[in-house]
Symmetry: C2
Subunit: 125 residues, 2 copies
DNA sequence: AGCTTGTTTCGATATTCGTTAAGGCAGACC
DNA sequence: GGTCTGCCTTAACGAATATCGAAACAAGCT
């Protein structure tokens, strides 16, 4: 068993009871903030965009790498990227001709922090 | 920083490099299926409903436990519960007068599996 | 029957998704 | 400098979908 695996097992044992989602009701404010993230990911095109950007070489991708994948026009891709940007899930930077997008790790961290303990609950009783 | 907090940080750091979402592009089919879950959770009321049910005593709650929390009418709560039900996130069962809702762990597990390296598979060797 | 609990139906309003057309920015070329 | 061309965004608009409440409906208990 690797160090990381051991760590993960320790974690799942340690926080199984303490997920923000499962331990106690979310506050209205927490729910509003979190739902913005979930909502932005609640579209198949945006989920794939997110995944394409994240898995692209160097952790970043320009729009030209993305728009060819879908059967959608440029403005539509641009719109979905804007939704992801405004949710804080990605950030864009212009370098010369192209605009490069990359993942904002903090946003994904917040999401997984809500969900991970449920994985733990599914583990050894 | 507590032991548990340190562990959580370790795990969430792993999300940035190893989660399925980040490792390779999602297929169109995966994206459609996953986005249904995210979409259902993309509303603050539904997120709180989910959390209220999950954190309620015995892991289940009747609608009467839920509707009082919000400034919304019964039919609206019923509507949101239906959305969660059709997304497979919760299930309802009638017992006498009341209908009890509980979390469907599989759905949350699928969500976690996208964001987080395979924690469950990292069980005791 | 009457009462309680929860859902369904229907209608009004608001938001989202995708298109076409137009605008902004950077580089190439004269 | 001026004007092309390519890349991406913004603006404007229609169609589809989501959100919510009032009224009507179903299911169970006394």
């Amino acid at each position: 068993m690797s160090n990381q695996e051991r760590l993960l097992v320790e974690l799942t044992d340690a926080v199984g009871c303490c997920s923000p989602l499962v331990r106690e009701p979310l506050s209205a404010e927490q729910a509003v903030e979190l739902s913005r993230l979930f909502k932005a990911m609640g579209d198949p095109v945006r989920l794939r965009l997110l995944s394409l950007i994240a898995s692209h070489e160097g952790g970043e991708a320009c729009v030209c790498d993305l728009s060819g994948v879908f059967d959608l026009t440029g403005p539509t891709i641009s719109h979905h990227l804007k939704v992801l940007r405004e949710a804080g899930l990605i950030s864009g930077e212009r370098r010369g001709t192209w605009i490069y997008y990359r993942i904002e790790p903090d946003a994904l961290r917040r999401l997984s922090a809500v969900l991970v303990p449920d994985v733990a609950a599914a583990g050894p009783a």
